[in-house]
Amino acid sequence: MNKSKLYTWFKLFWMFLKINLLTSSGPASVGLLYKESVGKIMTESQFVEAVGFSNVMPGSEALKVAMFVGYAAGGLAGALTALLGSALPPTVSMLIVTLAIKHFQDEPWMDGFIGGMLPAVAVLIAVVALKLFRSEKNASKRSLLIAAASLAALAMGAPAPLVLVGAGLVGIGLFR
């Protein structure tokens, strides 16, 4: 274990701590990550591969990109360092908020605050759903078919995980 390795790990940890403190996950963090890592840690094509890979594989997008970049920079230990740096800000901040909500839950203004956020949350979920659907390229008819089938299944009360796995399996059959 020499000094330059330790330095790489520390830099990775710090970089992902910073990115995850400054951005909510999604496109914004990818932009910041691009500026921080391309040319310094990895090449542009490696970065494109990392982002593309994260979109295709299941699991939290931010964590996958972090581990991919960390791996390119410092191997397995680099990947784990990047993971730790990415996981700390969201978990610690959310723990604080969770405790704060518990503390304030009997205050009357808290009801209004949550009640006011509810319609915005519902709209946000629908908007993200729409974006997700539109991100499906050049397969619109098949995607629509799967969407219609899933809607029918959900409306009939089919369990959600089953519908999702089914849709994925249909995808294997349809998208070749």
Binding site: N20, N55, S93, L124, A129, V163, L169, G171
Partner: protein, 170 residues
């Protein structure tokens, strides 16, 4: 002990069947509301996961895990969320080029995406259906829709809606 295993399993499943935190809220609502958290707690989880910086998936796990079973619950939920991407990464370190050419993984996620989108709309509808649709709620919804369509940052929109709620909903 049992509830910890359930939480771990739930978040394992949710993170295997979605590619990002926000995309997972559809499934999460179906599986967690009523069992681990109330509808109102779920709204808080999604709202604050969007408002706070960092991975939404981990924030949802932290909030729901903590409310279901305290700190051990939060840790179990986090472990379930972190495991799938980590194992994938470890596997991929050796197998990336083979995996990427395995078209079925990509096709599975492509097929999954429209279903995830439909499930999310379904859940958005469920959230609204249970609240009383007075003019305050409707105008907050309309205002946030316009804000999102104008590409306003979601954290700001959610916080503003919450603050407006403090004054409007009494």
């Amino acid at each position: 002990m049992n509830i910890l295993l359930q939480l771990f399993g739930l978040f394992l499943k949710v993170n295997l069947l979605s590619t990002s935190g926000m995309a997972s809220v559809g499934l999460l609502h179906q599986e967690a509301v009523g069992l681990f958290v109330t509808e109102s707690q779920f709204v808080q989880a999604v709202a604050f996961a969007s408002v706070l910086p960092g991975s939404d998936a981990l924030q949802l796990a932290m909030f729901i895990g903590y409310n279901a079973a305290g700190m051990p619950g939060a840790l179990a939920a986090l472990a379930g969320s972190i495991l799938p991407p980590t194992l994938l990464m470890l596997g991929v370190a050796a197998l990336l080029h083979r995996l990427r050419r395995e078209a079925w993984v990509r096709s599975f996620v492509q097929g999954l995406t429209p279903a995830v989108a439909v499930l999310m709309v379904f859940v958005a509808w469920k959230l609204v259906r249970k609240t009383e649709l007075n003019w305050q709620v409707l105008s907050l919804g309309a205002a946030s829709l316009i804000a999102f369509l104008l590409e306003a940052p979601p954290p700001l929109v959610l916080l503003a809606a919450g603050l407006a709620g403090v004054f409007l909903l009494r």
